[in-house]
Amino acid sequence: MTTENKDAKFDEIVQASMLISLFSGVDPKTKYFENIPILMGGEGLIGDHQARLKVEEAFGQLNLPDLFQTFDFTMYRSSYEPYKLREDLVIAPYIYTVNAKHENTFVMSLFLTPWADVNLSQFQEKIVDFTSYFSGIFRRTSEEIHLKKETMQNRTKECEKGGSMLMGYLSHLVFDQRQMLGGTEKVTKPTQLIAVLFQRGKIGQIFACIGKCGNSFAAKKYPNLESCPNCDGEISRDPIHIFEPRDVSVAYPHGFKDIDSQENLNFKAPTPIELLYLFQSSYLPNEIRVTLNRISPTVFAQIVPLPHRALFEYRNSDDVLTLYSLSKIQDDEILIISGITDSHVQIEGQLSQMALRIFMRDINEGVKKGYSRKEIFMKSILKEWELSKWIKLEGEGTPEPLMSWSNLAKELESDVRRR
């Protein structure tokens, strides 16, 4: 690559970009999994020469197979927008995650870059290919161990070598060839808009347990934590900044209120609280946030990655769920509006996924003009839908109205037009 010809800005971008990949292979004989983390680039972000070790330590503890096998839906790709806590922060990288699996091999890839237009579907295609390549390496070395030709240590070394070859090629494609930037994202399956969540809240701080339990503790309640109250494990040194929703409001199609009582449906429609959980599961895992904080406290402790887009796949079918969020900062308070589209819910009054974009444009304009939530809603493409009141999320337990759609139908906004 012509180093002289590259402009300084591009150099800065490359240095502030980092690609962390975690390969995880399940040994076919012993059923134990082995984690192989690989870190590429990030010279401008890493302030610490031990960063590589820290990444290995933290990522080595993640349980990737669980991520793919525990829940009804699996997140395959997501992107996050950085919300800066300090105005003077120059570099605030966007964060992209792409997950892939091939038989017994799992990959989680974390791409941090100031570029806002990484084409995630193209990126995912490459990662899927590379996962299968890595799976081959892991399968062969495992077989060699079984035949007593190889030791466990050699397997790790070989896998590391293979993984870094693949990831080196990936970063070559992105930075030298400038591929996988811009363009249209591929749609895997046409989806339909099923609900829109409005959430408002503030940025809060939590301490995360790096020990066994992995719980998190609000910094307000436990200001001076030294060890985990649950399991006595180690506690993250710097607090993690997260978005704490105070209340939520849901907009949904008119036909949804009867969905609980309909018995002949061949699927289980997600309840409002499940949609809220879906949004929450698109957050970056706490372990990763802690690791990033430790790699570069000056950058990552000062940003809150707010979910922007995410794609989930149902575990036992090829149906997809997508999430598209927009965050607005209004006098010290954050308003997050997220549209959820689903490819297998078919109910009267639904709009196609394209409607989501139009709705987001309506919201952008509405917020610019200073309209309230109700006004925005009434002037938008979704004005035929139902809109619930603000429902408080603070306190113990799940709020009653969010448990089902029929419950939510009792909590409608009063002056939104009734049918």
Binding site: M1, T2, E4, N5, H102, E103, D129, S132, Y133, S135, G136, I137, R139, R140, E143, E144, L147, K149, G162, S164, M165, L166, G168, Y169, H172
Partner: protein, 414 residues
Amino acid sequence: MEKSQLTKEFEEQFGKLSSRIDMVQRTQPETLEQYMPKLPDSIPTKLKKVISASYILCLTEEIYEVTFDNFKTDFLVFSSFLGFDVEKVSDISNEDFISIYLNPFVQILLIASDTFTEMLKTFIVELASGYSKELVRTLVIVNFYEPLFHKILDLVKVEIDLRFICAILTTTVEDFIDRKSRLKKGVQFSEFSISSLYKEFVDQYPLSQGQDLVFDMCNKLTVERTWEALEKLVSKEIESLSKSIETQRKDSLTQYKANVAREKEKYSDDYYVTMITGRLFELFVLERPLTDTLRTGIVNAVDVMIRRYLIDKHGYASASAEKTLTIACNLLWETVWELPQIVASVMDPSEIMAIMKADNPHKWLKDKERMFKLRFCQLLTRHAGRNPLPAVIGNAFIKMLEVAQKIKVRISFD
């Protein structure tokens, strides 16, 4: 029924090969007779002819240069993967034999040697560009070996031991290197044979099935074995190419620097101001009247000037009203400052008297430049209104010029 693409392709390839084999049989009967006795007796004479002819084809087309014995064993091993049994061979017709066993074998050799020639070019260019060996290695495997493997698997259509395909590729590569390096010494047959290499690979690599193994297999078996010889083969070419790339890079850098300097010169404020000074010169120095043509000329010039400036400096043609006005004021003031008549239009009568009485009028004007500029900008803003487009600013400027012309006339009367 319409034939599928694959069938068509297959028929085409098969037709080509069978006609070429026919051709060899007709034109070189003596050479054929040399080789035919070396084949097992259980094979009928017809098939013996076909196999020997295809061997001669491989030799003349420079696909695979080995001894006939090696070719024979390689072909028989390959056919055994597809279920070809020498004992039962009398059941099969000549055409079926070519299409089922011989065609894939020769095609694989052909595709492999073709792809390999192409790959060598990339290999040289990427290494000469200064990329690391590891990266080039991955690049070569992902872009050439992987697709090649899939092509071959499509051709064979049955599950075949991947290590054997790997052995074919490795042999082709080694054969290619060997052929290139012994060009000077005169032709001799290479010692490589696919089936002996396959036996080695079986010992080295424990798995044989699954397309996820392709990357690892190519890396571990083929590339590992041939990399150094390849580098040695083209080391001179890499060196010379990297030198020429280096000089190209230097040239482009000097050109780039010159371009940047030229751009800077082009996009200085003077460049934009010259768009309008000519017309103002006509109006105030040559003292021509403000005709409609001149008027539209000035308005257009202001419009173009502001838009060009915005595009060149900011990358877009429209900006906020505030920004547009600031840019317009700065640029227009540069032009106006050269022509004191217009400056006089923003002065009070007392100030005009003062400048006439001043010992050094130039110094007096220079000292008060900021104040006059501010006044000029205020006037321009007032004429242009709240939300001005560049053309509207041009019209506002015309209004100011009209006033300036009147003042000039009055001064000249005095």
